[in-house]
Symmetry: C2
Subunit: 111 residues, 2 copies
DNA sequence: CAAAATACATAGTAATGCAATGTATTTTGG
DNA sequence: CCAAAATACATTGCATTACTATGTATTTTG
């Protein structure tokens, strides 16, 4: 079970999928980085590493899909909150169309 | 529409997904390379390049998920047919479980 | 008879997940 | 009380994989 090939494959599946998941999570609420990791773990079967999340969020920001703002805490380390931009929302919609088409095809292949 | 980001993203989604699709296609029949590209184009919205398919099939072979045999043609270039091994079938089943879990999570996020 | 299609293959490039590592603060359990 | 775990950010370098470009060779089509 869970052979080396399957593990590597799961890692490859995350390429692209993670960005899609994160944009979906940010659709209705804003979250900070650490919280995003919790959300991913809570709502999916995907394991996400810190070394994956932070560079990914920076890419999404650089591409103009999200913005971020630092929020000071009464106690503790400041949090960087991310929110979708209009471009981010439009892009997410395009991605959803592609995903649903792909998924429909795959379900036909599987059954 | 279809911004540069979305195009790059689609390419990333293929990493992993293509192997999964090809193994699914080979589940019930054996196919040769060129034919596999046709099958992918026919049954999915995915574009697959020759430079993607042949190295990918070699990886799957190296990993022991498929075997191949050359079949001479009465006329024309010989074809290399691929078929799933037992390991390939077992692996595919593991992949399907992972994919279905992932897909269930994503559908919850999307709706 | 030239172009397109069929059929295989590889080299080099770009993109991305991840382990490892680093910094700093706060909470928790013994 | 204090060490470990959790919280919260971030970067570097490595491994993997899709794709463009290129190559070879045969057959079909307009």
């Amino acid at each position: 079970m869970n052979s080396e090939f399957v593990q590597k494959w799961q890692s490859q599946v995350k390429k692209g999928t993670l960005a899609f998941i994160l944009l979906n999570i940010l659709k209705d609420n804003e979250f900070y980085g650490y919280e995003l990791m919790e959300q991913v773990r809570k709502f999916t079967t995907i394991e996400i590493a810190e070394g994956t999340l932070y560079p990914l969020m920076n890419r999404l920001k650089k591409e103009g899909l999200v913005t971020s703002k630092w929020v000071e805490q009464e106690s503790g380390i400041p949090r960087k909150y991310y929110q979708l931009t209009e471009t981010g929302v439009a892009t997410l919609i395009e991605m959803r169309v592609y995903w649903q088409n792909l998924e429909t095809s795959i379900q036909k292949l599987i059954k």
